[in-house]
Amino acid sequence: MAGVHVSTTINGDAVEFVCPGNETLLDVLRDRIGLTGSKEGCGTGDCGACSVTVDGQLVCSCLVLGAEVEGRKVETVEGLADGDKLHPLQSKFIEHAALQCGVCTPGFLIAAKALLDYNPKPSEEEIRYALAGNLCRCTGYDKIVRAVDAAAKEMSRVAKRK
């Protein structure tokens, strides 16, 4: 199968890979780059466990071709923390016990970050609808919504101080 040569940026690092034209970005991330934080829960865009951002846009990486990210900027859960400093969403998810099995967590963190980047002070309803594309079967979403709300509040506190 003729491969496509792709140069892109993943979590700030320049990355090159060759993949078949029909290979998804999710498979590229997991099987070629070794970034297994993004999960395949369905492969059809229904569960959000593979959520990443491409040029800042939230997407399901199972519905993006690897070939499409030529020259783009891809962000995954592995790039969420700033060195040894966790992103507030990451800290709040742990503090609020917003994960049980944790397999949906990377997708939720990426989707929640995309929400807060666009809407720093979301209402409970806005949080729930923004995260509707991420399925969680363990928590009933209760502690997840609380964790995102707490992270938003902390982030705006920090922003004020600056």
């Binding site: 297994t36 099995c101 363990c138 928590t139 979403y141």
Partner: protein, 759 residues
């Protein structure tokens, strides 16, 4: 031999607090490794060919073209999985479910498998395998499967508990109860009788089944797998493949949800067989479609309930007939439904009859308090109808009839101290019950029961020279158990939580551990951890005695340090766990505590739920407005994760009640094998789920722990059914209560009204 597990009213310093879970960081950074997250050098990709037919004879499987495809390293069919079960039909069923033997028994039944150098090649190979089928008549409905002329799913099956010796789809008829129900009904002032149906649901864990298998010609092998019980998987796989248990090392990955669905092997024996044939590691991952078509969902059910009561609200008799399908292989799901059906109540005359029935659907697996929710839907609905008929408040009616210590359970034994009464009282006094309701809104409540159990457990506790503690457990952590078990170890040793690191050990590092199922994880591993820690403390005291050169009987352990008793030793200053650890190389070597136990006598558990729902009378759409869970936890070790279990179980029950269902076509094929049309609740479907944890100690656990994982999936079907019925004034008798079903019920009721007023 298990030390005395009796509850001792121990005072706690750490248990009951809410520290951060030790595996949290790995799980928010993407570092945690699940079933599909590792690879091996030289790894092949496995893929499984599945039957497109509900029921078909497999005439011929031609793999010759696929074998010739470049990059294909192994192809197997049932011929590569000989029957080594010497007469154990249960084991043979497991093997046959992993790979069809002559007949495909359901849409999605595996018929062949390949291992190839990559996924694309494996996929192409599957397309090249030619299977010649002869379609056979099929049956997918539980009631139709019970008819005399129904197509037989397993011709060898004879009905246990029945009087006929003819082949039948009815696997068994199981009767429970006591007293004389007919005499009881004769005494009743009011009798309500109604039939109910519930559709098949799936556990819906987000992580599909996945494993990495590696077996060599030397008969040694390794399996990395997402499972609720790697020791049980090891034993099963070894038996099915003729391997020696000690030579198959099974490591449990992080598990992305199980809820019972990962207590059964589905693809693992196939991956091992492929690896053995190719002599290469094989990674096998189910697609979401495969998960729905071929890994264990629940039973669909058909239930008749009849309950009679006096005007004063006392139930005089209760009877239920419960028909559950087992899928294509015999199970005990109907029997379980019958056992749990009336467990909440104190009944003089009660009878429940459970039918287990074969159909051409995937083999049913346990799903969180298996079989109890469907039974509770019918019973708790009729209980509400009966209370209404008598003109009594639904909660008061349940309180009047609730089981208590000394009640003979409908499934047989006499209860010890139990929590049903207290959960009902808590519901009665909950502000939720007094909140105002608006137009088209209704409130419902219901209670539920689950057994819980303990089982075999083995735990190791090792103290490092710096005084930090490794706790090795063999029960998989499905949702925070490592935090709870670390709390227990720290509590017993008298050291900070942070000084303990809990790991889930592989099958070569510990003795056998049963599954994380039946809400046993924290109950049984908690017990084993207590005993392991206490053994370590005994050794610590010995080391202190040696250090002081005094008799160990003069050494006391408290708050993480050894002290010497008596005035004669008053000059000896205490030795902390860390002091003793540091000195251990010269006081006898490493310090450890070990425990093997059978944690029996797990306490039964009860929950009562309240639900407010709004119905759009023009479309049948529903919205859950408010939801409250009250459950007895015995003792909450880490309350965050107890609440999490309550909330998650309630959410699954809500999805079951409203929108989740397997849809089969007339051709017997599953029409909605994906998260698009198998509709589990999304974040915007649910409100916050309030929880109230009751703590009625379990007398058979040192800390009073009861399992908490399952019970709260039992009440939601009925709680929502009662709420919807109260909102629209029509009794719902079919789960899921999807908008089309609710709209139909509203219109039929309206039509009936018309007739009445017209006539």
């Amino acid at each position: 031999m298990t030390p005395d597990p009796k509850y001792t009213k121990q005072k706690f310093k750490l248990v009951g607090t809410r520290p951060l879970r030790p595996d949290g960081l790995d799980k928010v950074t993407g570092r945690a490794r699940y079933g599909a997250d590792i690879s091996a050098p030289g790894q092949l990709v496995g893929a499984i060919l599945r039957s497109p037919h509900a029921h078909a004879k497999i005439i011929k499987i031609d793999t010759s073209k696929a074998e010739k495809l470049k990059g294909v390293k192994a192809i197997i069919t049932s011929a590569d999985l000989p029957d080594l079960t010497n007469g154990d039909r249960g084991m043979l069923d497991i093997l046959e479910n992993c790979m069809a033997r002559g007949r495909a028994l359901y849409d999605g039944h595996a018929v062949a498998a390949v291992a190839a150098i990559d996924a694309a090649t494996a996929k192409k190979a599957l397309q090249l395998i030619k299977v010649q089928y002869k379609k056979l008549p099929h049956v997918t409905d539980v009631d139709e499967a019970m008819a005399d002329d129904a197509p037989l799913v397993q011709p060898h099956v004879r009905t246990r508990g029945g009087d006929s010796d003819k082949p039948s789809n009815i696997v068994s008829i199981s009767t429970f109860g006591h007293g004389d129900v007919e005499a009881g009904f004769a005494k009743a002032d009011v009798i309500i009788e109604k039939s109910f149906k519930t559709e098949q649901t799936h556990q819906g864990y987000i992580e599909p089944h996945a494993c990495l298998a590696s077996v060599g010609p030397d008969g040694q092998g390794e399996l990395w797998v997402t499972t609720q019980g790697h020791f049980v998987f090891r034993n099963t796989c070894a038996a099915l493949l003729g391997m020696e248990i000690a030579k198959l090392k099974v490591t449990s990955s992080e598990i992305g949800g199980g809820f019972g669905g990962k207590t059964h092997v589905w693809i693992e024996p196939v991956a091992l067989a492929l690896s053995r044939k190719a002599n290469r590691p094989v990674k096998l991952v189910m697609s979401r479609e495969d998960v729905f078509r071929a890994s264990g969902p629940t039973s669909s059910t058909s239930v008749d309930v009849k309950i009679g009561a006096k005007k004063n609200g006392k139930i005089t008799a209760a009877k239920a007939t419960l028909r559950y399908h087992d899928g294509a292989f015999p199970g005990i799901w109907g029997m379980l439904g019958a056992m749990t059906s009336f467990a909440c109540y104190n009944l003089e005359n009660v009878q429940s009859i459970g039918y287990d029935v074969l159909v051409n659907r995937p083999k049913v697996a346990a799903y969180r308090a298996p079989s109890a929710p469907m039974a509770a839907f019918g019973i708790e609905s009729v209980v509400d109808m009966l209370a209404a008929e008598i003109g009594m408040d639904a909660v008061d009616f349940r309180i009047k009839n609730a089981a208590k210590k000394g009640t003979r359970a409908s499934y047989g034994p006499t209860y010890g101290p139990i929590g049903i009464g207290p959960t009902l009282e808590a519901v009665k006094n909950h502000p939720h019950m007094r909140a105002k309701l608006g137009k088209n809104q209704g409130r419902g409540m219901a209670c539920g029961f689950w057994f819980n159990f303990g089982g075999q457990t083995c735990t190791d506790l090792n103290i490092g020279v710096d005084g930090t503690v490794n706790l090795a457990v063999g029960t998989v952590d499905v949702g925070g158990a490592r935090a709870s078990l670390s709390l227990i170890a720290a509590e017993e040793l008298g050291i900070p939580y942070e000084q303990v690191k809990c790991n889930v050990a592989d099958t070569t590092s510990l003795g056998h551990n049963d599954m994380t199922e039946g809400s046993r994880g924290t109950f049984s591993s908690g017990m084993a951890t207590i005993f392991a820690a206490r053994n370590a403390v005994e050794e610590l005291k010995v080391r202190a005695a040696r250090t002081w050169e005094i008799d160990v009987k003069h050494v006391e352990w408290a708050d993480g340090q050894a002290t010497a008793k008596g005035v004669m030793h008053s000059n000896l200053s205490p030795l902390t766990l860390t002091d003793l650890a540091k000195a251990s190389p010269n006081t006898g070597g490493p310090i450890a505590g070990h425990s093997e136990s059978v944690a029996d006598g797990a306490g039964v558990s009860f929950a009562s739920h309240i639900c407010d729902i709004e119905v759009d009378p023009e479309t049948g759409a529903t919205k859950v407005l408010r939801y409250t869970v009250v459950q007895d936890a015995g003792m909450a070790i880490h309350p965050d994760y107890v609440e999490g279990q309550f909330q998650g179980a309630a959410a699954q029950g809500i999805g079951w009640a409203l929108n989740e269902e397997y849809v089969y076509g007339a051709d017997g094929r599953l029409q909605n094998p994906g998260f698009l049309d198998y509709r589990i609740p999304v974040c915007s479907d649910l409100p916050f789920i309030d929880t109230e944890i009751l703590e009625i100690p379990n007398p058979n656990h040192p800390y009073g722990i009861r399992g908490v994982g399952e019970t709260s999936i039992v009440p939601p079907l009925a709680a929502i059914g009662n709420a919807v019925s109260n909102a629209i004034g029509v009794r719902m008798d079919h789960v899921p209560m999807s908008p089309p079903r609710i709209l139909k019920a509203i219109k039929e009721a309206a039509a009936a009204e018309q007739e009445v007023s017209a006539g």
